[in-house]
Amino acid sequence: MKQIVVVADMKVGQKGDIIVTHALGSCLGLMVYDPVAQVGGMLHAMLPLSKINPQKAEANPFMFVDTGVPKLFKKIYSMGGQKARLVVKAAGCSAPLGKNEMFKIGERNYTILKKLLWKNGMLLTAEAVGGSDGRTVYFDLSTGRTIISSKGLESEL
């Protein structure tokens, strides 16, 4: 089944499912896959830290990297995923042109992700982050194959 992940959203699935998210800008797209259990999930988080609006985080933890990422991993574990086997990929986190610090939400999203992974002894297998591109991600849960589409071009992550 094809599932769409909208902004501030998460979807999980198994063999036979395809998960898609469109138009990643500075948001983080995080893809987690267990190739043995053939389960996986995708998070599309908008902002780095939930402390900016705890009320929103309560209502929708997927809006923030610090609350959304743990939710995704917990869900994958509950579906039979095992930490040692997980393949973790990241996309998005881009920024508009110019050196204006306050618009670097994408960079902060990425930093918080890396901190969380590091704390848990995990690494990114692949990433397509930064720059000023908009990105669409297709995540095939039969194989774990992740395709990034940007400016009309597709590439495998």
Binding site: V7, A8, H22, A23, L24, G25, S26, C27, H44, M46, L47, P48, I52, N53, K56, M63, S94, A95, P96, L97, G98, K99, N100, E101, M102, F103, I105, G106, S132, D133, G134, R135, S150, K151, G152
Partner: protein
């Protein structure tokens, strides 16, 4: 002499649909403080589509009215004139802005969603910054990208050239100007001029990517500029060109904007957009 497509583009601007007749009459009436709700109903009676759209928007959760509104008269009383003008405008452009936009590769509905997002984000930014921006902020934000409707076809034809220019790290609208001798902001402003819109609105659309070039600084221009970039960042209406636009450090300075303001507004924008778009799309 360099061959340019600008004359063809401007010809398209000329033949771009004018505001629906009812809308034009309404906007004139709404400018007049002596206008009565009955007069407005009288005009809308002949445009049931516009009325239905208007009432749908009025009843969206975003405006938080205490009860469902079933008539224009009620809408006027509960929302006030200013809001009503904005919603008449939104109802009028809803259909045309809901179309797919070539060149920028925006599927059907995406430009409308982006426009609504920039409107609510701009209003929320003004509130967050405790700035009393003019009431035109909603409409200025709503229409900032109207030029894409015309320029999209031309961008598509010359996409390779434009993308080559843009790949050198310049803003996408600058690349448009290099190749097409105009950009979507200028074309948008021209459309609003043809619609006889107030100058403040025309300027906000004209300079939404380059607020520092507006003749005199204007909070309205700065806010639309920032709200637009923010909405692209959070993925609402991001086209093929991605985030290939430059933010103005001077505009953020003029507004006294901080990162926390941006993130706070971003965290609320999504809900507002859903509240307004669900009704207009159903």
């Amino acid at each position: 002499v360099k061959q340019t497509k600008k004359p063809n583009i401007l010809a398209k601007v000329k033949s771009f649909p004018s505001m629906p007749g009812a809308a034009e009459k309404l906007l004139k009436l709404l400018d007049n403080p002596d206008t009565t709700a009955a007069q407005i109903e009288q005009i809308l009676r002949y445009d049931p589509g516009l009325t239905a759209n208007l009432l749908k928007l009025t009843n969206s959760v975003y405006f938080g009215l205490p009860c469902k509104v079933g008539s224009v008269k009620q809408a006027v009383v509960l929302l006030g004139w200013k809001r009503l003008v904005q919603l008449v405008m939104a109802s009028c452009v809803n259909a045309v802005m809901g179309k797919p936009v070539p060149g920028y590769d925006l599927p059907a509905g995406k430009l409308w969603r982006h426009s609504i997002a920039v409107s609510v984000a701009a209003e929320d930014l003004a509130k967050e910054l405790k700035i009393s921006a003019s009431e035109e902020i909603f409409t200025a934000a709503l229409l900032h990208d109207v030029g894409k409707l015309i320029l999209g076809g031309f961008v598509k034809e010359d996409l390779e050239k434009i993308e080559t220019e843009a790949s050198r790290g310049i803003s996408f609208e600058v690349a448009e100007r290099i190749v097409l001798d105009t950009d979507h902001a200028e074309i948008g402003a021209q459309i609003l001029k043809n619609w006889s819109f107030p100058l403040a609105l025309v300027n906000a659309v004209r300079w939404h990517h380059d607020p520092d070039s507006a003749g005199k600084t204007d909070i309205l221009v700065d806010i639309v500029h920032v709200a637009n970039i923010l909405c692209l960042m959070i993925g609402i209406g991001v086209g093929r060109e991605g985030l290939c636009y430059k933010s103005s450090p001077l505009a953020t300075k003029r507004l006294g904007l901080k990162g926390t303001h941006l993130e706070m507004v971003a965290s609320r924008t999504l809900q507002y957009v859903d509240e307004l778009c669900d009704v207009s799309e159903s």
